[in-house]
Symmetry: C2
Subunit: 141 residues, 2 copies
């Protein structure tokens, strides 16, 4: 939806941030993807609509959007980071064999988080890293 994009650009403007073609391209890619997107995917897609945008600009744009609370990034294992709109937080499961990424049941870590807070005073940030393991298809034969 185009006005989803406009809304997000509006939040930028509202916080005194500039609306530029590069930022528009990143946000459009994010909205169109409707799910998480790797940083390099985002580079590709944004460059499809605005060929001149530089990799570094996209990383900087993502930092800005994250600072403003528009997107969040998660780590899907190893090096790769993925971004999605922040109203769509959820826990990811990633299969180490086939690389497939799925969504975990919500509130999966509630009990664990509560327990860690009580026992160690440690405030777990569950969504920030994916849960790694092996998916059903890759375990069977």
């Amino acid at each position: 939806m185009g006005h989803r994009v406009d809304d997000l650009l509006g939040t930028l403007r509202h916080q005194g941030e500039r609306v530029t073609p590069a930022r528009r391209a990143v946000i459009e890619a994010l909205v169109a993807a409707d799910g998480h997107l790797g940083a390099e995917d985002l580079v590709d897609r944004a460059q499809r609509s605005v060929p001149s945008v530089h990799r570094a600009t996209i990383y900087r744009t993502l930092d800005t959007l994250e600072r403003l609370g528009v997107v969040v990034h998660v780590h899907l294992g190893h090096g790769r980071a993925a971004y999605h709109l922040s109203d769509d937080v959820h826990q990811h499961l990633v299969c180490e064999v086939c690389g497939d990424v799925t969504e975990a049941p919500p509130r999966l870590f509630d009990a664990v988080a509560r327990r860690l807070l009580q026992s160690d005073g440690f405030a777990m940030r569950p969504y920030h890293f994916a849960v790694v393991g092996e998916c059903a298809r890759c375990q069977d034969p």
Copy 2:
């Protein structure tokens, strides 16, 4: 303990692997540390006893040791990997603010792992990634 080291070197020999100064140095560093050690720490320490060992050799040695089941590596967030002897597996908690790494209660993820296996057939590998969050000291004042 020196014969801890000898035991491990023995396992190598037994599997048809060669015992070399580089491998000895890595294993000694690991045994002496008695806990997890970052890959680059390991490079430093191994080079302290055998200055000529190359970074690449240490990474290869760690791969070999992992293949033989002697060590395991875990990811402590971002890029850094840490290694420890495989009889000392445990879950790590890492504070994103101060970087401090502590040990989590054992079996912390048992219930979650069971649930994921039932609902999605997904076999979680809990120890492989640390739990990130914020430690008690960094939250308070």
